[in-house]
């Protein structure tokens, strides 16, 4: 795991974006980081959705990607998944270049996003069966039974996905995201539109999964409490750039704030002078 000092150093180089000359080298695939993002740029016509960001996520970490609407979080995650091609820069996932070598890693990662749904007319069991087969999960029936027990799906496992409540759908989506025991889990707003109880329950499950499997989790969220609770590192994005990158405690200390929500508001409203001074020191 990277030390705070290393992250802060990375944050400095990220702020400089493409000006920086020395970049992290690609590690041996056996020792590689879970995710390496290097000078990543995404242009949509004249709009810079992502503007030269770089970061490295070690295996077994949980990192929160914070930022307001349009900050570039979803585009960043989509580029990491290979759903969107970068305009320039490089993404490596589990030691393989994306999207060129995606066939080598797609079976070892998974994701959940509000931008996709699971087929509504199919039952929960049918959906999990299909995705289990796509991911070539061994002993699939046992795996589904285990997930159903862990995520409390048994009451509605033979009900059509379209007839579930928002909270039930989120648990099903999480089951799909975990069906292949992913080493890397990418989550975009994993608790959006959930009541506090269900959201808390989902967070507890994610923590347990990370701990039990030494999995790496990258999550984009607007929920600051969620990020504070789950993440051992936070990357704050604004207008396609990385504004800050450190542990939640270090970031809050740097902004002289007691919650990440206050930090978020400072960043969103441009009140970053305290932080800037500290980073530049």
């Amino acid at each position: 795991m990277h030390s705070t000092a290393q992250w802060r150093k990375n944050a400095l180089s990220m702020t400089e974006n493409s000006k920086a000359s020395s970049r992290p080298t690609v590690a041996d695939s056996t020792l590689s980081a879970a995710i390496e993002v290097d000078r990543l740029v995404k242009l949509y016509k004249q709009t810079r959705a992502v503007d030269g960001i770089s970061f490295t996520l070690p295996r077994g970490s949980i990192t929160g990607l914070l930022g307001g609407n349009g900050a570039g979080k979803t585009t960043t995650i989509a580029m990491i998944m290979g759903l969107v091609l970068p305009t320039s820069g490089r993404v490596q996932v589990l030691g393989h270049r994306m999207p060129e070598q995606s066939a080598a890693v797609l079976g070892r990662m998974n994701f959940e996003s509000p931008y996709v749904d699971m087929p509504m007319r199919l039952t929960v069991r049918q959906n999990l069966t299909i995705f289990g087969k796509l991911y070539a999960v061994k002993n699939l029936a046992d795996r589904i039974a285990k997930l159903a027990a862990e995520l409390d799906l048994n009451d509605f496992i033979d009900r059509a996905n379209g007839k579930l409540s928002a909270g039930q759908k989120t648990r099903v989506a999480l089951a799909k995201a975990l069906i292949n025991h992913p080493e890397l889990l990418l989550l975009d707003e994993p608790t959006a539109s959930l009541d506090p109880d269900t959201a808390d329950w989902v967070r507890a499950h994610l923590e347990r999964y990370r701990k039990d499997n030494n999995a790496t989790i990258l999550l984009a969220s607007h929920n600051m409490l969620e990020v504070e609770r789950l993440c051992d590192r936070v990357i704050i994005m604004k207008r396609g750039r990385v504004e800050d990158d450190d542990t939640p405690d270090a970031i809050m200390a740097r902004y002289n704030r007691t919650t990440l929500e206050e930090v978020f508001l400072d960043v969103a409203r441009g009140r970053t002078s305290g932080a800037r001074e500290d980073v530049s020191r």
């Binding site: 999207p99 996003s113 699971m118 796509l134």
Partner: protein
Amino acid sequence: MSGLTLHCGISVQRIGAMILRYWYLLMSSWPRLLELLYWPALQIITWGFLQMYIAQNANFFARAGGTLIGAVILWDILFRGQLGFSISFLEEMWARNLGNLMMSPLKPIEFLLSLTVMSLIRLAIGVIPMTLLAIAFFHFNVYGLGLPLIAFFCNLIFTSWSVGIFVSGLVLRNGLGAESIVWTLMFAIMPLACIYYPVSVLPTWLQYVAWSLPPTYVFEGMRALLIENTFRIDLMLDALAINAVLLAASFWAFLALLRSARKHGSLLAGGE
């Protein structure tokens, strides 16, 4: 990784999973099943009675019994084959499931192969009852065409897949705003494929265009068989050669459109 994987890296298990997905969907929705049956049945009844009426009043059609009904059945193989392919693809767009599939180990070629199998399944559900109706009501047995029917069928289904692959790529790239192309593109080639009339009816310059389309060879071949009792294998081989080129071109176009969709972020959007 478990399951049968071919030498080219294509996983039979993943293709099977996708076929299972569409099968579950069909079985869970009676309107979808009814839609497969209703329109072909309506077509055959309408055109069958028209053929009966013409045959009673025209010597040529009396001799060429079955050309209209045969044309309707073969046209439906072409049209339904493409729809069967494209609708399965659209189901993923409507369900907003494409991102899940693109992020899974499923390869584009496996996805397309599962769609071709589904087009055959959907075609069988729609067209087999249609052929039985033709036998029962109009005494036209399309299976009586024998081995040539296999040649006709293969050439038409290959063309339908080419069109299906290409329009699916267009929808992938442009979102559901391009959905109408799925329903209408095949009709654009309808007048040129000479389904109900010989190629010689067309102006000379348009005949060149018509002969660039594999279905034209099939419908000419069908008329030769029904009117002259001659199986034109030369026409079938020509159609097969053009189909090979079309299939390769449509697959290349699909990959190019997929890449363009990734470039423009269309896989995340998926809407209009």
